[in-house]
């Protein structure tokens, strides 16, 4: 590659219509004409979709044709498209870090849909800034890392067991860490699983047996993960069991800590005897059907309310299943389900719902504004269609309570630096594009730790998380982005301002020298530390002092 001195900067600008997303609201010709007037710009072109195969080829062709040393794309968000355009530059022989993007869609055309003239002026400004910044970019290279071809799975319920099994079968060493004394999680507390009316122990015992036989899988029961350091490919995890700490090196971590069922203390007279949860009923059914002849179930107890706004989704299926089992044990038993909305998604579940009605299970809808009242031997509920309160005899009341997050979810979230939502469930990297990955590389999630799931979903997610993790483990080496912060030890005053704001734990303070240093592997180049530079010691990979902040803000 030729020498890229400041005098030899040749910028190519590609302005994207994004179909009508940009071209429908901005004057594209004006943007093209303006870009041609900018310093160092030698080539400008408009594309219908720069991200299409045709658009990418245009970039790849223009680089040698016009001898481009910088590429600027004015289009959508770098969050989704920067890697694609950087890849195109690299394929055409240009260092991918000599690429810059102007987000004239999310930050301009979508915002100024009714102001074509002023919006166009604004987009000109954004393109001008990107071109100016491009001129100051420097060549960077990716950082190559070795990795440990092992996995740690936290949680030995059905999703964690499935993940561990899949990775073990692929030939990777797996440490499966379970806090209780046996594998199986919530499944151990269930009675029978529909539609096959199978005891869940069949599934648990089969999987546990195969895990114990698999030479690649080490099962740690009565154990927890107490510490985790490092980064993708190179984590060091401390497993605490029987009062002893063991450290293991691992390439990936799967969070499969599951959930627990809410105990509805203080709700509907819950006492664990006459008023029980569905989970309590499962235990009763294991010992044979209860003698109760009038059973009333109440749905959405402690969920879809102000305190817990979400729908736990599996409680409807559980209630219908248990109603069927009660009816099949004794058709004379009266079972009434008081509900707000029934969630019976899926072919088999709808069939189950229909079967319950054929067996005579009664369904009464209630309004959360006037919820049912549990009194001695009866449940009173305002019947919406009859327009009055009815009394249903009840010698057993079953409350359908939601799956809630594990108590340790917060600690694990802090330890692994992965987020949880307001209810303590772990948040995936992207709801559609990365449903089983965390935003942190090398850490994955599955099962109830993510959201209440059926057994089928927990197993699928466990297998899926294992497959995602295997993408990392299948590599001989890893490459991380060259865009990282750097701290000048001569001007660093050791104020630790940058350490406080770094969300990735990427900055270490060296007390002996009184300066901070960036771990280039952990650093994501987010730029959060830039404003903290008391003496401008932290700088990004270009010499522009605001590079890192603008990069973050442009997303």
């Amino acid at each position: 590659m030729e020498d890229q001195t400041k005098t030899d900067i040749r910028v190519g600008v590609f302005v994207c219509d994004c179909g009508s997303n940009i071209a429908g609201y901005l004057d594209m010709q004006a943007l093209v004409d303006y870009a041609k007037t900018l310093p160092n710009v030698v080539h400008v072109q408009e594309n219908l979709y720069t991200c299409s195969e045709g658009g990418i080829n245009e970039i790849k062709n223009a680089i040698p044709k016009y001898n481009l040393t910088r590429v600027v794309v004015a289009s959508c968000t770098p969050r989704t498209h920067e890697p694609l355009f950087m890849g195109a530059c690299e394929e055409a022989g240009l260092n991918p870090y000599l690429f810059e993007m102007a987000n004239i869609r999310d930050q301009c055309s979508w915002v100024h849909m009714k102001e074509k003239e002023r919006g166009t002026e604004r987009a000109k400004g954004q393109i001008g800034m990107a071109v100016a910044k491009a001129a100051r970019l420097r060549e960077l290279s990716r950082i190559q890392l070795g990795l440990t071809h092992r996995a740690v799975v936290i949680g030995g319920g059905i999703s964690g067991m499935s993940a561990a099994m899949a990775l073990g079968n692929m030939g990777y060493e797996v440490d499966l860490v379970e806090k209780s004394d046996r594998l199986g999680g919530l499944l151990n507390d269930l009675n029978l699983v529909l539609p096959a009316k199978e005891p869940p122990s069949n599934l648990v015992n089969d999987l546990a047996g195969r895990l114990n036989e698999n030479p690649k899988v080490t099962v740690h029961t009565r154990s927890t993960v107490s510490k985790s350091e490092g980064y993708v490919g190179n984590f060091v995890v401390t497993i605490n069991g029987d009062g002893e700490d063991k450290t293991v090196k691992t390439g990936v971590i799967i969070v499969a800590i599951g959930g627990r069922v809410l105990k509805p203390e203080g709700l509907f007279g819950y006492d664990g005897k006459m008023v029980v949860t569905q989970l309590d009923l499962e235990a009763m059914l294991k010992d044979g059907a209860p003698a109760s002849k009038n059973v009333v179930m109440i749905q959405c107890v402690g969920s879809r309310c102000a305190e817990r706004t979400y729908c736990s989704r599996i409680c409807c299926m559980t209630a219908v299943k248990n109603a069927i089992l009660l009816k099949e044990a004794d058709p004379e038993t009266k079972v009434t389900i008081l509900y707000r909305d029934m969630q019976m998604y899926g072919v088999e579940n709808e069939d189950m719902f229909r079967r319950s009605k054929e067996l005579g299970v009664r369904y009464v809808t209630f309004d959360p504004a006037s919820p049912p009242r549990v009194e001695d031997g009866k449940v009173l509920v305002h019947h919406l269609r009859m327009g009055r309160e009815i009394s249903i005899p009840a010698d057993l009341v079953v409350l359908s309570t939601p799956v809630i997050a594990q108590e340790e979810a917060g600690d694990i979230s802090t330890m692994l630096k992965v987020p949880v939502n307001e209810n303590g469930f772990f948040l995936e990297g992207h709801v559609k594009l990365k449903p089983l990955d965390f935003a942190t590389d090398g850490v994955y999630l599955c099962g109830n730790a993510r959201f209440p799931s059926t057994i089928r979903e927990a197993v699928s997610q466990g297998l899926g998380a294992a497959a995602r993790a295997a993408i990392v483990l299948s590599k001989d080496a890893l490459f991380t982005s060259g865009i990282v912060a750097d701290i000048n030890p001569d001007t660093c005053c050791g104020c630790l301002g940058c350490v406080d704001v770094c969300p990735y734990g990427a900055i270490n303070y060296f007390e002996d020298r009184g300066v901070c240093q960036v771990n280039k592997v952990l650093c994501k180049g987010c730029g959060g530390d830039a404003p903290q530079r008391a003496r401008r010691a932290v700088r990004g990979s270009t010499d522009s002092p605001t590079n890192r902040s603008t990069r973050r803000l442009s997303r």
Binding site: C76, V431, L433
Partner: protein, 56 residues
């Protein structure tokens, strides 16, 4: 030795994701789609909840 190639029938969102993940593991994938372009139902949508991403 078993062939390290995978055939995926259907180029909708599920088939595409499977193909990408397998490809990222270094496995050769043949993705077969009956229509002229991949994307399936997903490609017919504009924006999807809850993130309102442009689906295409």
């Amino acid at each position: 030795m078993a062939s390290k190639e995978v055939l995926i029938i259907g180029g909708g969102i599920a088939g595409m994701q499977a193909a990408l993940d397998l490809g990222d593991m270094g496995i050769r994938v043949h993705l077969v789609e009956k229509n002229p372009s991949i994307g399936g139902k997903m490609a017919m949508l504009d924006k999807t909840f809850p993130t309102n991403d442009c689906t295409i």
